[in-house]
């Protein structure tokens, strides 16, 4: 298998030496419409490097708001979000984190329809100081990893739902992020494609020790994660961690 972590070969070593949580939310609240809507309320959450966790909850429970806080595409109305113990204060701080350390896979794919699969992945490499040819080579390598080597130059509109989500995963991991977030990544896919996408994401977690946060309302998918966080009405109501050996005994892992 191709090593997609070429850009950050010391990632695992970094994590092992650092005992601070990868990301932590301290009393984070998110209000909308001047406080009329509370999406998150005093949420405390710590995610360690290498965690594989699922965030589950009903529709409108605050899952997406929570995941938006984790990747900094939204900001808390109160409370703090720390990355490796450091607060991320500005939008530029978060943009840099997303560029270097956080990959996001959305339910809606969020790909640029007028660009090819290769170009969509290449977009995530802008600002890394790579030449155009190196960007393309890297994007092609990651697309090959997700099994789309034969679709590099196809426009997104020519790809199936499963293929689009593979492109989205390739884009999310092309910078070898420490944290991979999937916001209902299988929500728009048929069961076969959903299984393949889920397998791909877990494989990344296992192969490279990538921290995986999976937002889903699919209990079966959530059950494959050693840690499950349940959210209801913007409050974390359950945070359970199943030790890996137990998962193995249950035959889930």
């Amino acid at each position: 298998m191709m090593n997609v972590m070429n850009l950050r070969p010391s990632l695992e070593i970094d994590r092992a030496l650092d005992s601070r949580p990868l990301i932590s939310l301290n009393s984070v609240s998110r209000l909308y419409d001047g406080g009329a809507i509370t999406a998150l309320q005093n949420v405390d959450l710590q995610i360690d490097a290498g965690d594989c966790m699922a965030i589950v909850g009903a529709s409108g429970s605050g899952k997406s708001s929570l995941v938006n806080m984790l990747c900094g595409i939204d900001h808390p109305s109160s409370g703090t979000v720390l990355w490796e113990g450091r607060p991320q204060r500005t939008r530029q701080d978060w943009a840099k984190l997303r560029r270097l350390s956080i990959g996001i896979v959305f339910q809606e794919f969020n790909l640029i329809p007028t660009l090819t699969a290769l170009e969509n992945v290449e977009l995530a490499l802008f600002g890394r100081g790579l030449s155009g040819s190196r960007r393309q080579a890297r994007a092609a390598m990651v697309l090959e990893y997700v099994g789309l080597q034969h679709r590099l130059n196809n426009l997104i509109t020519r790809l199936s739902g499963g293929e689009r989500q593979r492109v989205a995963i390739a884009r999310a991991i092309v910078n070898a992020p420490a944290l991979l977030i999937g916001d209902e990544p299988t929500g728009n896919l048929d069961s076969t494609s959903a299984a393949n996408i889920a397998a791909l994401m877990f494989r990344l977690c296992e192969d490279y020790g990538m921290t995986l946060v999976l937002v889903t309302h699919d209990e079966k998918l959530a059950a494959r994660c050693p840690r499950q966080v349940r959210i209801k009405d913007g409050v974390i109501v359950e945070d359970t961690a199943i030790p890996d050996p137990l998962l193995e005994l249950q035959g889930i892992a």
Binding site: I73, N110, I112, T114
Partner: protein, 372 residues
């Protein structure tokens, strides 16, 4: 792929809007260039006309608002001619004179003994003889537009003149002239013993210091200014107004092109809110997102400016072939003219692109991603 390639893709996604925006810039830049070039060419053509007459100095009434406005007593010609260092001097009455069946024609009256007649580049015919009255020499364009040939009669200010010569001047203004004896024009316009300006030839052997002395001596006669042919139009109020109006309209035209870009990019960024959210979600910096939008504006501006310059050259080619324009002025866009207009258009278009770019990066990525 790079940011330019991405911008080109985005422009091609909306061909109609992109095309109309570019057309707006093209017309704005083209019309701005045309307006400024036209106003300059009127001055340049008049300047060339004065230069072609071979004057060293042109004497006008002090404080005259324009070259038509001042009046000097004809006696002043003799006083100037008597100044040491002045080789020769000639009065001139200068006006737009109504001609039967036509609009006004630019008419000059020179004394029948003036040295200026000797310098007329005749294509055919002759200049007036001493004491000859009610005769006219026409510039080629004037003859063509009036439909007159040698021996034809011409009505000016209600008086009849016989065409005795056709002059082959090179400057556009002089090609449209009608030259008549000064006395005839003074009588017909009720300006007996008055001239509009005095042409002066100075003995150049004395060098610049002597030239300045002669100039000072002329002005010391009182109530007149002596200017070189190149300076004479600088204080002309009509030209100043023309240039100011042209510049103002040109600025408005160029500003309109910036508004075109602004409008196109505001619409484009609104449509692409989600796309901008995607860029933010994958970690693009604000500067990079803004750059991607500004580059679209720059590309539209580049294409629009190039086409606008091309349009102005087409106008320069076509306008002289329209008699109503070509008989009066020449129209030549130059690098010195194009550069400031294009730079101004560019600067305004970049400013126009910055606003939607700035709006785009102010959006919260999560909200941008929710937009359809």
């Amino acid at each position: 792929m790079n940011l330019v390639g991405l911008a080109l893709r985005n422009l091609r996604r909306r061909p109609l809007r992109t095309g109309l925006s570019i057309l707006g810039i093209t017309l704005a830049v083209g019309s701005a260039l045309a307006l400024i070039a036209l106003s300059r060419s009127i001055k340049d053509s008049t300047q060339a006309g004065l230069n072609e007459l071979g004057d060293d100095l042109v004497v006008m009434q002090k404080g005259a608002s324009d070259i038509f406005g001042g009046f000097i007593s004809e006696q002043m010609v003799e006083r100037i001619a008597a100044i040491r260092g002045v080789m020769r001097a000639s009065g001139e009455l200068f006006m737009f004179a109504p001609s039967a069946g036509h609009t006004s024609v630019l008419t000059l009256g020179w004394p029948d003994t003036s040295y200026l007649w000797k310098n007329v580049p005749l294509r055919e015919g002759r200049v007036p003889q001493q004491g000859e009255r009610h005769v006219a020499v026409l510039g080629e364009s004037a003859a063509a537009s009036l439909g007159k040939k040698l021996g034809n009669e011409l009505d000016l200010l209600g008086e009849t003149f016989r065409v005795i010569g056709i002059a082959n001047y090179t400057s556009v203004v002089n090609r449209g002239l009608v030259l008549v004896p000064l006395a005839d024009l003074q009588e017909a316009s009720y300006r007996t013993r008055q001239v509009t300006m005095i042409h002066v030839n100075v003995d150049r052997g004395g060098g610049p210091a002597e030239f300045s002395r002669v100039r000072g001596s002329i002005e010391a006669l009182g109530n007149v200014t002596a200017s070189t042919a190149n300076e004479v139009l600088n204080n002309d109020r009509n030209f100043a107004i023309l240039e100011a109006v042209s510049l103002a309209v040109a600025i408005i035209a160029v500003a309109m092109s910036a508004l075109n870009v602004l409008n196109a990019l505001v619409m484009a960024t609104q449509e692409r809110t989600r796309e901008i959210g995607i860029f933010a979600a994958i970690g693009w910096s604000n500067a990079r997102i803004m750059m991607s939008i500004v580059i679209e504006g720059i590309l539209m501006c580049m294409i629009g400016c190039a086409l606008g310059v091309l349009l102005s050259f087409l106008a320069a080619f076509a306008f002289p072939r329209i008699p109503a324009i070509g008989n009066l002025i020449s129209f030549k866009p130059s690098v010195g003219l194009i550069a400031p207009v294009v730079v101004a258009a560019f600067a305004l278009c970049v400013l126009g692109a910055l606003l939607p770019a700035w709006r785009a990066v102010r959006m919260i990525p999560a909200e941008a991603l929710r937009r359809m």
